[in-house]
């Protein structure tokens, strides 16, 4: 990881991936959610959350399907609170052990 500066440049925003959302999501989930396999509600493709494309910085984290660009997860984190919208994800599959 060595990124995000480009998010603020006067050119196309660069897509990071779910790895860069790990810090925010780890505030909410007790397991490493970037390793969860997530089913896209749009095209039904399945990939690790880490492989989703990340937009929206620095207002929030918007994770989109790398196949069809549908929005799977929307998250905004502030110091003391978080908002999370998972409606775009059809399913999350996590290993607990």
């Amino acid at each position: 990881m060595s990124a995000n500066d480009d998010v603020s440049l006067s050119r196309e925003p660069a897509a990071l991936d779910g790895n860069a959302a790990a810090g925010l999501l780890q505030q909410i989930f007790a397991i490493d959610i970037t390793m969860a396999r997530i089913t896209c509600g749009g095209c039904q493709s399945v990939q690790p959350l880490a492989a989703l494309r990340l937009y929206g910085l620095p207002m929030g984290n918007i994770l989109r399907c790398p196949r069809c660009e549908a929005t799977l997860i929307r998250a905004v984190a502030r110091d003391q609170e978080c908002w999370l919208d998972l409606r775009g994800a059809a399913a999350l599959h996590v290993r607990l052990a």
């Binding site: 060595s2 991936d17 790895n19 790990a22 810090g23 780890q26 505030q27 880490a50």
Partner: protein
């Protein structure tokens, strides 16, 4: 994998080292650092005197057993944080850091090999952590690093890559330069393409693991190509650093 809730910790710069014309390593002392796995990253937060804050993520380039935590920062023109970290910050300066973060891009000996590591530009950072760990913990694992840089002067960690290669016959290192190469250059030239990948990649029948890190466009192209030559998508791990179409 269970993970702890992260807290912001204070990091103090204990050493800086220029790795190339625009990339720098920062060695840090971090209060209460819990240790990390190879391939993980941290979030860094800077606070100005008037309270203004900016946050970015950086990969850990040091081995888990290293005495100091090291981050690799690449200077991005017109960036907000990297110019500060690469040009202004000095020994003794402090910022906040939280981590380690990210179970997806970890490699440890338990995962096995053979191991195909592909880096573009500063994407070498998490792979350096993996290689440093591997040199101590799993030197026999068949490993091939393919590293793409713009020019010979942009090859980061050149000495340590050469040392690892010298010390370990199971590690192969291939370099490609995309912008210009010195006259005596014996490595590859040009961006990583299907032909180069076929030449360095382990056969899919060996059930290799691949880790690809660097600019977004390069990572996606390489990952798609590996899948097209038979790597199961689940055995190709990616970490995108950002600028699409940026030449490495």
């Amino acid at each position: 994998m269970r993970v702890p809730r992260l807290a912001w910790r204070t990091a103090e710069i204990v050493a800086v080292r220029d790795e190339s014309a625009h990339a720098r390593s920062l060695a840090l002392r971090v209060d209460g650092w819990p240790g990390h796995e190879p391939g993980q990253h941290v979030d860094v937060r800077l606070t100005a005197a008037d309270g203004y804050q900016a946050q970015r993520s950086y990969s850990i380039s040091s081995a888990p057993a290293a005495a100091q935590l090291e981050l690799l920062v690449d200077y991005v023109a017109d960036g907000e944080v990297s110019p500060y970290l690469t040009r202004e910050a000095r020994v003794g300066d402090r910022f906040e850091l939280r981590g380690p973060i990210g179970g997806y891009f970890i490699w440890t000996a338990a995962y096995g090999g053979p191991l195909l590591l592909i880096a573009g530009g500063s994407g070498i950072a998490p792979l350096a952590s993996i290689l440093a760990y591997r040199a101590r913990a799993a030197p026999g694992v068949a490993t091939h690093l393919l590293y793409s840089a713009r020019t010979a002067l942009d090859i980061i960690f050149k000495e340590r890559l050469e040392a690892w290669k010298r010390e370990d016959p199971a590690l192969a290192v291939s370099l490609t330069l995309t912008r210009s190469a010195p006259p005596d250059w014996s490595g590859y030239r040009g961006r990583i393409d299907a032909a180069m990948l076929r030449a360095v990649a382990f056969a899919a029948s060996e059930a290799p693991l691949a880790y690809v890190c660097g600019p977004t466009a390069m990572v996606e192209h390489v990952a798609d190509t590996l899948v097209s030559i038979g790597y199961p998508a689940g055995r190709v791990r990616t970490e995108r650093f950002g600028p699409s179409g940026e030449s490495t």
